[in-house]
Symmetry: C2
Subunit: 437 residues, 2 copies
C-alpha cells in the first residue's frame, strides 16, 4: 500500500483537479521504474491535454524529470553559466554563432542540441558537416573543455533527464505531444539538469515554427519562464516570428557556412539581430552587462575583433573538427548541382514559406523523415529574396543545392509554391522581438 492510488490521481486530473508535487513525483518515478504502467501514464497524459496543469504541477513534473538523471554542476567555474533553447525553426543556426561569442564575452556556455526531424534541422546535423567534428563528448571531456575554452556544442547527454526521452516516446504514440505543460517541462528539465544559472529561450512562431501563432508562443514562453524562475534560474524568453527561414541558408553545410560568415562580420541581418538579442539578454541576466544595449555593443565589438570566430575555431578543434573551416568553409562537402530558381514575374516578395522551404531541403536529403534516415551534409536551399524585397522577372529567388538534377527539379517545384510575388509593395517584417520574463 505504498504510494498514492494512481487511478485516483488520473481521475482527479480528468475532473480538472490538481496533483501535489509528491503525487507528480510518484507518477514520474513510477513511469521510469515501470511501477506505473504505460497505459496509466498514457491516460494521465491525455487528461493533461484536456485539463492542463497548474504552475505548481508543471514545476513539480519538471523537477521530477530532472531527478530521473544526473545534473551538471558548474560551481567550480570562475565564470557565469548561460544556456539557451530554441523551439526550433527553419534555417536556425543561431547556436553556432552565439555560443562562441558568449564564451568570448566571458560566459560558460554548454549548448546541448538535437538532430533534425521533419522540416526543421538540428544543430548536431549541421555541425557534423564540419569534417571530423564530434558532438558526443563524454561528460568528463566536456567539463574539461568548458573549463579550458568556456564552451561546447554537444548532443543531449543520455545521463541527463532519461525520463524525458522515455516520456516523449510515449507522448509520440499517444497523440499527447502538443500539451503546453508537457512541452515546457520537457524543455526546462533539460535546461535545469544542464546546470546553467541563466536560461534564455528563443521561442519562434509562424508557419515554419512549432508554435503557429504568437498567442501559442506567448503561452509556452510564459510557462517556460515560470518554470525556470520557479526553479531558481534567471530565465527570459525572446519571441520572434518565423514566416520565412532564419537567415538564407537551409541545409547543413550551407548553414554552417552562413553561421561562420556571420561571425566573420557578414551574413544575413535577421540572424545577426536575433543572435545579438539572445546574447544581450544572456549577458544582462548573468551580470556581464549592465543593460541589453551594453550587451549588444559587447557582442558587436567581439565580432568586429574576430573573437567569436577565433572561439569557434577553438571549439571545433577541441571537438575533433577541422578548424580551417572558419577561414575556408570550402573544406565542407558541396552539392554537385546548384541551380537557381528564377522569379516568374516582377514584384515584391509577399511570402517565402519557411515550412515549405524546410520540406524542400528535407526532400533534397538535408533532413530526416524518420529518426533513422541519414542526412546529406551538402544539399539544401539558399534563399536570395526575402519578404518585402523587390524582384525582377528572372532574378533568382533561391538556389537549390542538390545531389542530382532530378532532385533539384523536385525541390524547385516545391520552392516555387513557397514563394509569392505580389504586384504591389510589401512591407518588410519589422523584426521586433517580444520579451517575456
Amino acid at each position: 500500500m505504498s504510494g498514492p492510488n494512481v487511478v485516483e490521481l488520473i481521475d482527479r486530473k480528468k475532473r480538472g483537479g490538481e496533483l501535489s508535487a509528491e503525487e507528480i513525483a510518484y507518477l514520474c518515478r513510477g513511469f521510469t521504474s515501470g511501477a506505473v504502467p504505460d497505459y496509466q501514464v498514457a491516460s494521465w497524459l491525455m487528461a493533461v491535454c484536456w485539463r492542463g496543469m497548474t504552475a505548481p504541477e508543471t514545476l513539480a513534473l519538471t523537477l521530477a524529470m530532472v531527478d530521473s538523471g544526473e545534473r551538471l554542476d558548474w560551481s567550480g567555474l570562475d565564470r557565469p553559466t548561460v544556456d539557451k533553447h530554441s523551439t526550433g525553426g527553419v534555417g536556425d543556426k543561431t547556436s553556432i554563432v552565439l555560443v562562441p561569442l558568449m564564451a568570448a564575452a566571458g560566459a560558460a556556455f554548454v549548448k546541448m542540441s538535437g538532430r533534425g526531424l521533419g522540416h526543421t534541422g538540428g544543430t548536431l546535423d549541421k555541425l557534423e558537416a564540419i569534417p571530423g567534428f564530434r558532438c558526443n563528448l563524454p561528460l568528463d571531456e566536456m567539463r574539461a573543455q568548458v573549463a579550458r575554452i568556456g564552451c561546447a556544442l554537444v548532443g543531449q547527454s543520455p545521463e541527463l533527464v532519461p525520463a524525458d526521452a522515455r516520456l516523449y516516446s510515449l507522448r509520440d504514440v499517444t497523440a499527447t505531444v502538443d500539451a503546453v505543460p508537457l512541452i515546457a517541462s520537457s524543455i526546462m528539465s533539460k535546461k535545469l539538469a544542464g546546470g546553467a544559472q541563466t536560461v534564455v529561450l528563443d521561442v519562434k512562431w509562424g508557419s515554419g515554427a512549432f508554435m503557429r501563432t504568437v498567442e501559442e508562443a506567448r503561452t509556452l514562453a510564459a510557462e517556460l519562464v515560470r518554470i525556470g524562475e520557479g526553479a531558481g534560474r534567471r530565465t527570459r524568453a525572446v519571441l520572434s516570428p518565423m514566416r520565412e527561414p532564419l537567415g538564407c541558408a537551409v541545409g547543413n553545410a550551407l548553414e554552417v557556412r552562413e553561421a561562420i560568415d556571420t561571425l566573420n562580420g557578414a551574413g544575413p541581418d535577421d540572424l545577426w539581430r536575433l543572435t545579438l538579442e539572445l546574447g544581450a539578454h544572456q549577458l544582462l541576466l548573468s551580470g556581464l552587462a549592465a543593460s541589453v544595449e551594453e550587451g549588444r555593443a559587447t557582442l558587436a565589438r567581439l565580432r568586429g575583433e574576430g573573437a567569436g570566430a577565433r572561439k569557434l575555431e577553438e571549439l571545433i578543434e577541441a571537438q575533433g573538427g577541422d578548424p580551417a573551416v572558419v577561414r575556408d568553409p570550402g573544406v565542407m562537402a558541396a552539392a554537385p548541382h546548384v541551380e537557381p530558381l528564377p522569379a516568374e514575374s516582377a514584384g515584391w516578395i509577399a511570402a517565402a514559406d519557411a515550412r515549405e522551404i524546410g520540406i524542400a531541403a528535407l526532400e533534397l536529403g538535408a533532413g530526416r523523415r524518420v529518426k533513422t534516415d541519414p542526412v546529406d551534409p551538402a544539399v539544401g536551399v539558399v534563399v536570395s529574396a526575402r519578404i518585402g524585397d523587390r524582384v525582377v522577372a528572372g532574378q533568382p529567388l533561391a538556389h537549390v543545392h542538390a545531389r542530382d538534377a532530378a532532385s533539384a527539379a523536385r525541390a524547385a517545384a516545391r520552392l516555387r509554391a513557397a514563394f509569392q510575388v505580389a504586384p504591389d509593395a510589401v512591407e518588410k517584417p519589422d523584426g521586433g522581438y517580444e520579451i517575456i520574463g
Copy 2:
C-alpha cells in the same frame, strides 16, 4: 502499412473529430489482438471521456465488440426472444421474478447476469443461495433448456464479447469507466451478442444507483436505446428512481425469498410494479401483447394462476437447484442472529438511503469489496419501513440478519444513519416510470 494510423485516430478524437466505423473496428480488433498496445487504447479512452462519441461511433464500437466473440442464434425457436438489463441497484431481484413470468407468457428469456461488487448485489450470488443451483451452463445445455422451458438465469458466457471484459479491465485502471458511450456500448454489446429481438433496459438513478441523477439516467438510456435500435433490436428503457432499496430485502437468500413471495402473490409493491412495467413493455415490443396495459394484465393473471412460480420451479430444477425452495424458502441458509433496528423517535420516514443500506449488507458479508471475496448467502438487511411510512418510537425500521452479534451491531450503526425520521408527514415516492424509446 495496413490499417489506419492509430496516433492519427487518437489525435482526431482528442480534437473532437469523429472516427469511422472501420477505424473504430480496427482499434477494437487491434486492442483484442494486441496489435494496438494498451497505452494507445488508454489514451483514446481518455480522449473519449473528454470529447464523447457520436451515435455512429458508439454503435460502431458496440458492433465491433460483439464481433470479438460468439453470438447466440435463436432463429430455431418458435417464440419471441426478450432480454433486459438493469444498471444495478440495491435489492434488485427483478430478474428472478420477471424471467419465469415472461417465459410463462410465451417469450424465450435468457438472462445473463453478473456478481455483486461494492454496495450492489449480483443476481448470480442471489441464485446461488438456492441449494445446488448452477449459474454456469455450457452454451449447448443452455440452448436445450431454453428450447424446453423457455428461460435460463445464467452467468455471462465468456464466449460472448470477450473484448468487453478486456476493455473494462483497462478502463478500470485508467479512470475511464464513467464515460456514457463506453458504458452504453459495454451493456449493449452483451445484449446484442445474446441475440434477443427485444431488449428492455431498467435504468435506475439516485443515491443507490450507478447514475446519481435523472439527467444522467436519461442520457444513458437514450444512448442504450439508440444503439439497440441502430442494431435492429426493439429497445426501450424504463427509468426508475432508487432512493431506497427495491423491495425490502437486501442480501442473497433474503432476496430470493422476496422474489418467490412476489411470484406467489405477496411481496413488496414496488418490486411487483417494476416487474410488471418491464414485462409489459417486453410483451408489447415482442408482439405478445397489444398494449402495455394488456401486458400488465397478462402478467398479473399469470402470477395469480401460479404460472410464474411453477416456471421458476422448472428453471431451478433444470439448473440443478432444489425446486422445493419455491414452496418453502426455508431450505435456504438463514442467519443465526436476527435483530430489529428500532426507530428512536416517532414520525415519517424521510430517507432510507439505498447506498448505505447496501453497504451495511456488504459489511455483514452479503457482498464483495473485491472480486475474490466470498459471499455469505444468509446475511443481509430486511427493511420494514419505507419512505413516507409513519412510524412510532421503538417500531422496527429494519431487521439485521447477521452471522454474529458483533457484525449485527456494526450494521445497525450504519443502518441507523441510513434512515431519517422526520417530524412531519413525508410524501411517498410516486413510483411513476419514465419511458425512453
